[in-house]
């Protein structure tokens, strides 16, 4: 229905040139909206990164040198909110917008107008949220988890934060509905679900997670809002409420949320490794089922974020076992990636480097995750820098590295030009060295007893903090190189035009359309051969 509208509005017969405003503000083309999402998330990545630089600068040495503790807390809170809701999630939605229709042979997303709306909500949401930093009462300073009663101590600017998060949630839900509608209804004839490439698979599952949990977050923060402004007592013990209840509701959203940020990353990496191994993805069906199991388990492990709140023994045991269980399907994925490389014919272009970096460092984050699942040990690890190290390994060297890998992988398809391979490799190596300098010592800090979310610390923690800060500044600067590479690629600076199939080993429908991908693709459904699929033989 919506596609009908799209095809009648856009005449597919010829390349037409809408005005700048029409194209970028009112356009419904999935590629343009994908580009908008990606550019927006890059901007947010830089803003969130700038906040991280402030944090690392204050933590460079003991003593308070740069900011006061109130502002420091606003920075840690905003850094997380911006990176999660502004950088990582929209970046994956951007990749989905660009690539899903190309990979499944659809002319556009199923609901193009909804697509425009779900993107354009975001800049306003973040404008509102970031503006609280300049309001009386300041930005949120109670951590991105917004635990009451602390989060309720923010001034009236809290209402803006909650409104902004509601908008982000709306945007995510609409995006998820669009992805499900597209993947379920618009696949090219003959592309059964179990023939579909793995990236659309991971996004399909992620979209269900989004629809499952974003409304839960909306409920939690609405109750915060009424506790703050309308004298309800959902989370106020003095009025008969329960502050721990908030944590349960929040993490019921929050744990699936971490999989929302990593499952599409699995998808990206599962596309890239076979390409540069010149070998089909190992265990395609196992990959799909592992993704689905992880998604299911993600709904029943939330309280592992709350082992120290005083849960009954039975609850702690249940959440420990369930959490440990996630290691099994996650392990299957890692083993499958390594097996894909085994006996392949490997080359190491930048996307492959980032994908390999992803597998290694995401696994390190997985290891610390397994350690955190052990409840008695978590009584020590909880709320220390060990946790900070853990989730940055899975989110930065995990999700963000996968995003970088995906960006380099598909940039030539988007722009028609090869990016500068030398600079791409520099970007990878600088990022990898500095990110480990940044986050690995944080394991030591946590184990030695440094709590997270503190602006100042004892001398004992000074050495590793300094190393970590140096790593942070280096990692931050290395990302400016990425911005330059993207810009110069988009401008065609390399002068190297690429063909349809950019990479020798690339399989899949997206490599059958010209580069740069024309404004409209697959206006008639493509015919394809099973051997065109990245995972090759699909009989098992």
């Amino acid at each position: 229905m919506a596609t009908d509208t799209a095809t009648t509005v856009h005449d597919d017969g010829h390349e037409h040139a809408p005005s700048f405003i029409d194209r970028w503000f009112f356009g419904t083309n999935h590629k343009d909206i994908g580009t908008l999402y990606l550019l927006f998330s890059l901007a947010m990545f830089l803003i969130g990164g700038a906040m991280a630089m402030i944090i690392r600068a204050e933590l460079f040495m003991p003593g308070m040198q740069i900011v006061n503790p109130e502002f420091f807390n606003q920075m840690t809170t905003m850094h997380a909110l911006v990176m999660i809701f502004g950088a990582v999630m929209p970046a994956f939605v951007g990749l989905a917008n660009w690539m899903l229709p190309l990979m499944i042979g659809a002319p556009d997303m199923a609901l193009p107008r909804l697509n425009n709306l779900s993107f354009w909500i975001l800049p306003f949401a973040f404008l509102i949220m970031l503006s609280t930093l300049f309001m009386e009462g300041g930005g949120p300073a109670g951590g991105w988890t917004l635990y009451p009663p602390l989060s309720l101590q923010q001034g009236n600017s809290m209402a803006f934060v909650i409104f902004a998060i509601h908008m982000m949630g709306l945007s995510s839900i609409m995006g998820a509905i669009n992805i499900i509608a597209t993947v379920l209804n618009m696949r090219a004839p003959g592309m059964d679900l179990l023939k579909m490439p793995i990236f659309p698979w991971t996004w399909l599952i992620t979209a269900f997670l989004l629809i499952g949990v974003m409304p839960v977050l909306a409920g939690a923060i609405t109750m915060l809002l009424t506790d703050k402004f309308f004298l309800t007592s959902f989370f106020n013990a003095a009025g008969g409420g329960d502050p721990v209840m908030y944590q349960h509701i929040f993490w019921f959203f929050g744990h699936p949320e971490v999989y929302i940020m990593i499952l599409p990353a699995f998808g990206v990496v599962s596309e890239i490794i076979p390409t540069f191994s010149r070998k089909p993805l190992f265990g395609y069906q196992a990959m799909v089922y592992a993704t689905a199991s992880i998604a299911f388990l993600s709904f029943i492990v939330w309280a592992h974020h709350m082992f120290t709140v005083g849960m009954p023994l039975g609850g702690e045991l249940f959440f420990m076992y369930a959490t440990m269980l996630i290691a099994v399907p996650t392990g299957v994925k890692v083993f499958n990636w390594v097996s894909t490389m085994w006996q392949g014919s490997l080359t190491f272009e930048t996307p492959m480097l980032f994908a390999i970096g992803f597998v290694v460092m995401f696994t390190i984050g997985g290891f610390s995750g397994l350690m955190l699942a052990i409840v008695p040990a978590d009584y020590q690890y909880h709320d220390t820098y060990f946790v900070v190290a853990h989730f940055h390994y899975v989110l930065v060297t995990g999700s963000v590295f996968a995003l970088m890998a995906g960006a380099y992988y598909w940039l030539p398809k988007w722009t028609g030009y090869m990016y500068n391979e030398t600079l791409g490799k520099w970007h990878f190596w600088l990022s990898t060295i500095f990110v480990n300098l940044l986050f690995f010592p944080q394991h030591f800090l946590g184990l030695a007893g440094m709590p997270r979310r503190i602006p100042d610390y004892n001398i004992a923690f000074s050495d590793f903090n300094m190393i970590s800060s140096i790593g942070g500044f280096g990692f931050g600067l290395a990302q400016l190189l990425f911005v330059y590479v993207v810009w110069s690629c988009a401008r065609g600076r390399s002068g190297i035009k690429v063909g349809d199939r950019v990479w020798e080993g690339a399989r899949g429908l997206e490599w059958t359309v010209p580069s740069p991908a024309p404004h409209h693709t697959f206006t008639t459904p493509p015919k394809f051969d099973d051997r065109d699929l990245a995972h090759g033989d699909v009989s098992h």
Binding site: P62, G63, M64, Q65, V67, N68, P69, E70, N73, G142, G143, P149, L150, Q153, A237, D242, P243, S277, R278, K279, P280, F282, G283, Y284, A286, T308, G310, L317, M320, M324, V328, G331, V338, W342, Q343, G344, L346, T347, V359, T363, I364, F367, M371, I374, P376, Y379, Q380, H382, D383, F444, A448, M450, P451, R453, I454, N458, I459, A460, H535, D537
Partner: protein
């Protein structure tokens, strides 16, 4: 000195100073310490067990990957195989991790069941978190006091104070942000139960040497226990973000032998019950502290 005397002295040194020192954070410290309780030692063992399991799995996985990276390069003429499936391999690497997980969950469950049981404790301490200090009450006595960060740390931590954090020392040890006016005094070799709550926002009571942290939640009471074996001074911090001075509400436990503790408690109890006119008496101190807290709460 005979070699034997020297050895004895060294042994003494090891016994008296090393545990206490090692229990508090050290520069360049890489790992958790075994702490000073049976529980913290078990936690340390669990931590090392799971760490080594991860290291072994890591060596295998990254080893295989490294081998593939060097062996199966296109530049070395590697030709890609066609296979993409192996039921045997897939079943193996699903089943073996399950067995490893069961092997880890077993000792973890035992430790957890044991630490969960706070019965048969010999005394109870009530811990209350405030923004940004702690109150300790010795249940069944009149001893009840507030513990807040030492003044020198407090002056030094002010924005651009120009003071050197390294200069905040006690007994030759840097105690910047980790020292308090009134430490929590506890007897060794005694099962001490804690009931933990908070008055304003959520805090978390954490002394790494004891091996656990427990959230302090307004309106709710959490329970925990410890039995310290080694006398010494053990430092910790609030572990749950609790506002602007979250970094500045340390916890110090002074663990002393039981006889010494009993004398201390009796003395404190007498002071608390007795002369309130003395400004140094805990009770007077308490009244002042209460006024301060009331003000603090109002200003919120």
């Amino acid at each position: 000195m005979t070699p034997r005397r020297i050895l004895a002295c060294l042994a003494m040194l090891v016994v008296t100073t090393v545990p206490a020192l090692a229990a508090n954070p050290q520069r360049w410290q890489l790992n958790m310490t075994p702490g000073v309780t049976e529980y913290s030692r078990q936690v340390y063992d669990l931590h090392m067990l799971i760490l080594w399991i991860c290291v072994v799995i890591g060596v295998i996985v990254f080893g295989a990957m490294g081998y593939a990276i060097f062996k199966f390069r296109k530049s070395k003429g590697a030709v890609a195989a066609k296979w993409s499936h192996s039921t045997v391999a897939e079943v193996t690497w699903t089943v073996i991790p399950v067995l490893i997980l069961i092997g880890t969950a077993w000792p973890a469950t035992k430790t957890l069941i044991w630490i969960d049981d706070a019965r048969e404790s010999e005394m109870t301490i009530k811990v209350t978190g405030y923004q940004w200090l702690w109150r300790y009450e010795y249940i069944g006595t009149d001893v009840n006091f507030i513990s807040r960060m030492d003044r020198e740390s407090d002056r030094t931590r002010m924005l651009r104070s120009g003071m050197d954090p390294a200069a905040v020392q006690r007994d030759g040890e840097n105690v910047y942000l980790l020292d308090v006016d009134n430490p929590l005094v506890l007897p060794t070799n005694t099962k001490v139960r804690f009931v933990i709550t908070a008055n304003d926002v959520i805090h978390s009571f954490w002394v790494p040497a004891l091996g656990w942290k427990q959230d302090a939640i307004p309106g709710f009471i959490n329970e925990a226990w410890t039995e310290i074996h080694t006398p010494g001074t053990y430092r910790g911090q609030c572990a749950e973000l609790c506002g602007k001075d979250h970094a500045f509400m340390p916890i110090v436990i002074e663990a002393v032998p039981r006889e010494q503790f009993d004398i201390w408690l009796e003395e404190q109890n007498r002071l608390a019950a007795g002369d309130a006119g003395d400004s140094n008496a805990p009770l007077a101190q308490l009244a002042a502290d209460d006024a301060l807290l009331a003000n603090a709460t109002e200003s919120l």
